[in-house]
Structures are given as C-alpha cells and as structure tokens.
Symmetry: C2
Subunit: 240 residues, 2 copies
C-alpha cells in the first residue's frame, strides 16, 4: 500500500493538542495538525483498527485458495499485529492504560467488521485490501500531523510493507481475470466497503470535537485518501 500520495517530505509539529480553529494555516500539513485528534485517543483508536486488520487478515489465511496467497496474507496479518503491539506499547510508554484508550472504539469497530464481513473469500479479500488500505493511509497521514509529544517517531508506527497490499491485489486480479460477473459484484461491494470505511475515518477526525466531518480542513486529507482508494480499485479494473 503506497503512501506516496502525500508526496512531500514529512514535517513535524509542536502543535498544541487543541488549537483554536481559526489560527493561521501553513498549507495541508498545518491543517492536519489542526484536525488531528488528541494523541492518546488517536493511538487507542489506531491500536483497535490494527487489531481489527489482524483479525480480518488472519481469518483470510484459512479462507483463500493457494499456498503463496496464504503465506503472504499470514505475513500481512503478523505485521498488522506487530503494529497493534507497537501502538499498545507506545500507550504504556506514555503512561496510559491501553485497554481504557481502546475501549471507546471497540463497539463501532465491531459493527464495522460485521458490516464489511463479506459473503465469500473474494469479498473478504477485497475487504482486507480496500478497508485496510484506506485506514492505513488515513492513520499514516494523521500520524504525520498529530501532536506527538513524547513519541519518538509516530509515523514509523504506521509503516506498512507494500508487499502486503500487493499480495491481496494479485490474488484479486487472478480471480477477476475474464470473470465479468465477479467484477460487477466486487465493484458494487467495493462501493459498499468504502462507504462504511469512511464512517470510521470520519470518526477518527471527530475525536476531540475539534473537527467536524464537513470541516473544510479535512477536505484535502479525504481527497487524498479517496484518490488512493480509487487507484486501488483501478488497478483491479473495478469502477470505484
């Protein structure tokens, strides 16, 4: 899953946790610092999201046909769990209780998991690719903007191996080849997935009450996240 869509060197901020909303802006980066939710809540939700990715990917291992995809998806699952663990460890390091910080997000992420569960392994593989890709992109972007007091290298916690998305894409491409009926079904399923995933994405921005879903500062962020999503669908030959 490429993060190149942000196409600029990473900047760091000494942003206060809650900024007055009308403060002077310095481009997209400053906007991200503005809309970024409070650090602990951010880490708590991100840890929940990565645990959800682990559950989704690890269940796929038994589900998908073929040896190479199983191996690649198992590695992706292990890496999602490693990210989850790193976020939990970071919360502990900051003196926070990881369970307490994760708890507020569990019910909505479980609803999200159920809504995007899929009816067969092709739908579930697309789910892992589309939901995982979009949420990984979003949290990586937020990590570059969030006030990261006490965290040495917050964006590093969200680094994703491009091999993981590539493996899901390859598997989907192979099953889609020459199968117009499946393509039509998965295109529709992809639109359903992105709708549900954007609800989670918007909740990530609403954490502090500092940014609303229709806040103009969230626009560049959502535009980039959705552009990356569209590229993923395009690569599969599916209309986003």
């Amino acid at each position: 899953m490429p993060f190149s869509w942000f196409r600029r060197p990473r900047l760091s901020f000494d942003a206060p946790r809650l900024r007055p909303r009308r403060e002077k802006k310095y481009g997209v980066a400053a906007d991200l610092a503005e809309i970024a939710p409070e650090l602990r809540q951010f880490l708590g939700q991100a840890a929940c999201v990565q645990l959800g990715s682990f559950e989704r990917l690890s269940a796929l291992v038994a589900d998908v046909p073929g040896f190479a995809p199983k191996e690649a998806i198992g590695r992706a699952a292990a890496r999602a769990f490693a990210r989850h663990q790193a976020l939990v460890d970071e919360l502990k390091h900051l003196g926070a209780d990881p369970e307490r910080e994760m708890t507020p997000f569990i019910a909505s992420l479980e609803r999200f998991g159920a809504a995007t569960a899929g009816h067969d392994w092709t739908e579930r593989t697309l789910g892992a690719h589309i939901c995982g890709g979009l949420l990984d992109d979003l949290f990586a972007a937020l990590a570059r903007g969030v006030a990261s007091d006490g965290v040495k290298d917050l964006p590093a916690l969200f680094a994703v191996d491009p091999a993981d998305g590539h493996a899901l894409e390859q598997l989907l491409k192979e099953s889609l080849a020459g199968n117009a009926q499946l393509a039509a079904r998965l295109a529709m399923w992809g639109r359903r997935l992105v709708g549900d995933t954007l609800l989670v994405a918007r909740s990530a921005l609403r954490l502090t009450g500092d940014a609303e879903a229709d806040d103009p500062h969230t626009e560049p962020l959502f535009a980039e996240v959705i552009a990356a999503h569209t590229r993923r669908m395009d690569a599969l030959g599916l209309t986003a």
Copy 2:
C-alpha cells in the same frame, strides 16, 4: 509449555534417513533417531501443524473476553506463524518446494481442525492449549532425533515461549474457578481433544513407514508427551 520433560542434554545424530529397524539402540535418543521420519516430510508436516496453530490462535483473539488474554493470544498466534515461516524457509533452503511438502498433510489436519473446533470460547481455548501443547511437545522431541542434514539447529525452529501456554492456562483457570459444570464439560472435552491429537501425533511417526504406531520405540516418546498433557490438565484441575 515446558520441554523439560525430556530431561537430558540435546544430542545430535548423523543418522541415515532410513535406518534398518533392528539396528543396535543407544537409549531413548537413538530410538528417536530411528523412528524419526524423513526430514522434508517432517518439516512439511510441522509447517502445516504450525499454520494450523496460527489459525486456531488468531481466531481465538476475537473470541476470548478481556484485553490481556486477547493480547497474549495474539502474540502466541504471531509466534506460531513465525515458526511456520521458519519451517517454510528451511524447506526452501534445503531446495524443497514447501507447498509440495505440506500438501499431503493438509486434508487430515483440516479434518483434525474441524473435529477439535469446539462449541464456545472455553472449549476453543482448551483446544489451543491441549492440542497446541501436545503437538509442540511432540515435534520438539522429534526434532531432537530426526536426521537433520543441512539444518543448522533444527530444535531451535520448534522453540516455544512458555508465556503462550501460560496465557491460555490463566484464562482457563479464571473461567473454571468455582464452576463445576464447566469443569466437567471441559474435562470431557479434553479427553476428546487428546484422542484426536494423538492420531495426528501417530501419523507424524508413520511417515516413512519406518515406525508403526505400536512400535516399541515410540513408547517412551508417547509416554512423555502424554505425561506433559496430564500435567497441563492437572494444572487446570481437570482429570486427564
């Protein structure tokens, strides 16, 4: 999961892959070298078993209640996948095709997985503890005896963090406390689990046709594996 039940320093053998059965014996260690299956098949079956453990444990993460058990079982799942990967990598290193070596074992291990699936999270947790513990013990013991030409440190591939078994034991102890009805049900379930697991264990010894299930040389090995199983059940207050 302790491996101390073997209670002697590890020895290495330059055993031929297929030994004549009536060759002179040098104690239990030599017996193990005798009954040990051919290396590639052994690694193929072991890789399958570890993939099964990963699937079992990772599914439990969503299943069990509480934050600490989820975290601990997730770590155990990630470690089972790492063992699986190390075995697959070793097969590649030896010039073997991992998929080909694993394929003969998939159907029977899937039947085993289905037979030991359990009806709720307590049965599934006992399943992970009892089946995983017994198979990890068995393969670690076989790894000490198998002719390991070309493999630098075969037993190291089977090293298990004792924290993994301990987490499952703790979770079961907490749910069993003062619940006689659950204890009766899980004791019965444990006997079912060990029966199914021993079928897998015996198939691991039958690989080369060099040892039968009733071979007298398998007796010390099975006695030790079953003793360790009994200790796990005892620790839970369940009759094995």
